[in-house]
């Protein structure tokens, strides 16, 4: 494994500026591809820059935290929801993708999946140490995929070997990117099935859902903001942020998840806005679950969000308490 060079940033970069730079970088990469006879240099697994970004003493503002909690239906306490930590630290990871030596265009990146492992609750008074890097560039049947890894520790956490309080892995697809050797599995995995059981919730998402999540997450990708701006990128209407849907599922499971848990999501078909998402959350049987008087102590929860009218799954995932 190559050693990463650590670059200390003074502060979390603004996502707006990053998208601007990402647009320029994407245009540059597109131009290089168009001019090159082979249609751009094929990728290999070592193409990602061996760089890690770090930010120290990051703190959440109360107003920002409260706005996020109110939007997602999380209790507005001093604990940082796992999805909020993602929002706080995500610009650091995005900054890696607009570097001039990053081999893939930021524009058009598709969020395939996300995984968060929360080992302990971070609080709004904590000073945070954020580290971010990219890794695992690998073939995908329609391009290349890679992982953005973010680790968040409480500043001054003494044991360097201990797992980070929060670790997030976001898997992205860059469509059309080519690998030196075509190792990608050509076959498309089967689409996730619509659950048979009865729904547990129905989300009626108004047309401004993307704009409202953009306001708390800073992710103002035009595909989320309006039908007009989404159409420019090939979507019939604006689409919901994937992390908005995953974080709402996390909020629906609520305090049952415990302080330490893993939270995964795989995104399938996008949620068009305005729209209705049907959700089903199924507890997994776990040791120690008393049948008569307790709904707690299960082995975690599997969730699926789908469009009941079209019979199409939007996302699947699970939330598993660490002690399950």
């Amino acid at each position: 494994m190559t050693t990463r060079r650590v670059v200390e940033l003074d502060a979390v970069p603004g996502l707006g500026g990053l998208y601007g730079r990402g647009g320029v970088g994407s245009a540059r990469l597109a131009l290089a591809r168009a001019l090159s006879r082979e249609g751009g240099r094929p990728l290999d697994a070592g193409a990602l820059p061996a760089v890690e970004y770090a930010v120290h003493d990051l703190r959440a503002s109360t107003a920002h935290l409260t706005a996020y909690q109110h939007l997602m239906g999380e209790p507005a306490g001093d604990a940082l929801p796992a999805g909020f930590v993602h929002v706080l630290a995500f610009p650091v990871a995005t900054a890696l993708m607009v570097r001039s030596d990053f081999p893939l265009p930021l524009v058009g990146m598709v969020h395939l999946a996300n995984r968060v492992d929360q080992h302990e609750v971070l609080r709004h008074t904590d000073a945070l140490h954020v580290r971010a890097w990219t890794e695992q560039l690998r073939p995908h049947r329609s391009g290349a995929q890679l992982d953005l890894v973010v680790e968040v520790r409480r500043e001054g956490a003494t044991d360097p070997g201990a797992p980070p309080a929060w670790r997030g892995v976001s898997t992205y697809l860059s469509k059309g990117a080519r690998f030196a050797e075509d190792e990608a599995p050509a076959e498309r995995p089967p689409a996730p099935a619509v659950p048979h059981g009865l729904p547990t919730a129905v989300w009626n998402l108004p047309a401004d859902t993307g704009r409202r999540y953009a306001a708390v997450s800073g992710d103002r990708n035009p595909i989320h903001l309006s039908a007009l701006s989404a159409r420019a990128f090939g979507f019939p209407r604006a689409i919901a942020h994937g992390m908005y849907t995953a974080a709402r599922a996390l909020a629906d499971v609520g305090p049952r998840r415990g302080p330490a848990f893993s939270w995964t999501v795989q995104f399938a078909k996008p949620v068009l806005l305005p729209g209705t998402v049907t959700l089903r959350v199924v507890p997994r049987a776990g040791a120690g679950a008393s049948r008569v008087d307790s709904a707690l102590a299960t082995g975690g929860y599997d969730y699926t969000g789908w469009d009941a009218r079209r019979g199409v799954v939007h996302f699947t995932g699970n939330i598993t308490p660490s002690d399950a």
């Binding site: 729904p199 629906d252 008087d293």
Partner: protein, 445 residues
């Protein structure tokens, strides 16, 4: 010189005494947009209260405490019950408080006040509830509300302008109350549709409950049962929703309105679901001594109550299934079974709520796995269930239903005891939003 020490009228440490239901009064329940459309919660609660005062000669009387509530409440009605007392003929020295437990508000008011009477804290009390679906509060949006609050806090003209400049056109859209559960986004009807599917309740069984409810309520009105329980208001003398002439075929012709997107057949219609309603009810409670001192009758006693809640958020149990857990606990505490009950009043939020509750009690697996029993809890004798009709026919102004049930049940018990010369016992069960349930036992002795 030390002040003379008075003997306490209720010595501490004495056993509790009994809380009596003396009577009740309500206004007929109206449909949303009906004859009460211009009446506020305060208007209707005052009307019901004044009818009670007139019925029992309580003019100028200082009642120990009045407790009532509304589910859909304007913010200006923060002291709704006290305002109703001040507007009524009761002594202005009658204290009051508001409470709210969704559809269980009225029954919980009876339970709480009865407990105070049993403890000797009160000698007399009035429980009540009111709701108006016609005059429901419509709030301004969060954005407009925040801008207006910032405006009112701003000192300078510039800050005030800045606050108003923050208002967006979308903020001007009003925010109306909904019956959707905050955590699931599902309306109460859609929740019950899930429970209906879970327990496999048929359309026919639901329509049968609805038909019986109308027939029985109409018969009770015709027999004069409600003559001393209901006071006409705004030209209405009977519950507006009551259709004495409805039939199985009319009910069967209605289109399903809930559960239409489920994989199971949709069975819940406007006929076998309660309508949005306006109305108010009150119940007069007291110690036996107080009743005797005022030459008032005792219809029945509030013996005990049990509350429960279910984890409906992730669908383990249906939203309205909490009474399925409360009732077995309540009966067990008194060593009773269904056979020991002369009457059961199970609030008909939907016909299928009654049926899913009965189905759970008849289910072996539910009894063993969820109630911790050896088998099924038991089967209810339908001839003792909602004998004078219930919410499907009468309508259901949320907080007013508890008072309707308690007054009706107390009179049924008193009548039964007068006929047979033996004590009679009844169970009241009310489900409520939030996965709540409140149940109580009333008896004559």
């Amino acid at each position: 010189m030390p002040a003379a020490r008075r003997e306490p009228t209720t010595p501490t440490g004495t056993p509790t005494r009994r809380a009596a239901v003396i009577g009740g009064n309500r206004i007929p329940f109206a449909k949303v947009g009906g004859p009460y459309r211009d009446s506020s919660n305060l208007d209707m609660l005052t009307a019901a209260l004044d009818g009670l005062v007139a019925r029992f000669g309580l003019q100028g009387e200082r009642i120990g405490e009045v407790a009532a509530g509304a589910v859909l409440k304007h913010s200006r009605d923060f002291n709704l019950t006290r305002e109703a007392v001040l507007a009524s003929a009761l002594s202005p020295e009658t204290p009051a408080y508001d409470l709210q437990q969704a559809c269980a508000t009225g029954l919980e008011a009876v339970v709480g006040l009865s407990n105070k009477i049993r403890l000797g804290q009160l000698d007399s009390a009035i429980a009540g509830g009111v709701d108006s679906a016609s005059d429901a509060p419509v709030a301004v949006s969060d954005g407009l509300r925040r801008a207006l609050l910032t405006f009112s806090r701003a000192r300078s003209a510039r800050d005030k302008l800045a606050a108003l400049a923050g208002i967006r056109p979308a903020d001007l859209a009003p925010s109306a109350p909904t019956t959707a559960e905050p955590r699931t986004g599902l309306s109460m009807g859609e929740h019950q549709a899930l429970t209906t599917a879970q327990w496999g309740i048929t359309r026919e069984a639901q329509d049968e409950i609805a038909l019986l409810s109308h027939q029985r309520l109409a018969t009770a009105y015709d027999a004069g049962f409600f003559d001393d329980l209901v006071t006409p208001y705004r030209g209405l003398v009977r519950d507006q929703n009551l259709r004495a002439d409805t039939s199985a075929s009319k009910l069967a012709a209605l289109r399903p309105v809930f559960g239409t997107h489920l994989p199971t057949p949709a069975t819940m219609t406007a006929g076998n679901s309660t309508p949005l309603s306006d109305g108010a009810s009150t119940v007069l409670l007291g110690s036996e001594e107080w009743a005797h001192a005022h030459a008032l009758p005792v219809l029945a006693y509030v013996v005990d109550a049990e509350v429960a809640a279910v984890d409906f958020v992730l669908g383990r149990d249906g939203l309205l299934m909490a009474p399925a857990f409360a009732v077995p606990r309540l009966l067990a505490r008194h060593g009773l079974t269904f056979d020991d009950l002369d009457f059961l009043e199970i609030h008909e939020a939907f016909a299928s709520t009654v049926l899913t509750t009965l189905a759970a009690w008849e289910d072996e697996a539910f009894g063993r796995e969820r109630l911790g029993l050896d088998g099924a809890f038991g089967t209810v004798d339908r001839t003792r269930l909602n004998v004078n009709g219930s919410s499907l026919a009468a309508g259901h102004p949320f907080a007013a239903t508890g008072g309707r049930l308690v007054a009706t049940t107390a009179k049924l018990l008193a009548t039964r005891t007068a006929d047979t010369g033996r004590p009679a016992r009844a169970l009241i069960s009310v489900c409520a939003a939030g996965g709540l349930g409140v149940t109580a036992i009333l008896e004559t002795a």
